[in-house]
Symmetry: C2
Subunit: 110 residues, 2 copies
């Protein structure tokens, strides 16, 4: 458990930081893939066209903005969308980015 | 009427371009000021902490993304929020950015 990275509380979520996280198409793809999945997703299992180290950067940005929660299962780093907490901070924002229209406008998978 | 600048059709709105427009706090402030106003607003009448030429750039970015419509009344360039058209393209997005929570998180006026 000591390896669990730090996560902001809902009260610490900032709209500017959240939007800066979501403006990147790779990060938005990670969010929409999590939104569409019934289960949490391992870092290595996302369909994103970037190197592992670049992906790690994107996961960090999402985690620091409050969009995802990360935890370990063995050596796998798992990712959960913090949907309820994000809805509490900024109602409707995640929903607006995962509508059929928004997903169709998504240039990347997810 | 020849001075009316070009505006994209709804079918041309792009989520990436819209988010890049909205990630800037000055531009988001212009949008929230229009959202909160009963009337259209002249370019010179917004409460934004930037020079006139910088403001003009921000208005252009918003117009090209489809977020605002600009038209002249005499020498005044007026601005309207394209709320219905944006809702058609990306339902809920403008609403999510103008909730009380989002407005409270807005660093600038509006």
């Amino acid at each position: 458990m000591g390896r669990t990275p730090p996560h902001p509380e809902v009260s610490e979520f900032g709209l500017q930081q959240v939007l800066e996280a979501l403006v990147d198409p790779v990060r938005r793809s990670i969010v929409t893939q999590l939104d569409a999945s019934d289960a949490d997703i391992k870092c290595g299992d996302f369909d994103i066209p970037v190197s592992k180290s670049t992906a790690t950067h994107h996961f960090n940005v999402l985690r620091e903005a409050g969009l995802i929660r990360q935890y370990y299962v063995g050596t796998a780093r798992m990712n959960t969308l913090r949907r309820d907490e994000m809805d509490q901070a900024f109602p409707g924002l995640l929903a607006a980015l995962t509508t059929p229209q928004a997903r169709a406008a998504q240039p990347l998978a997810g």
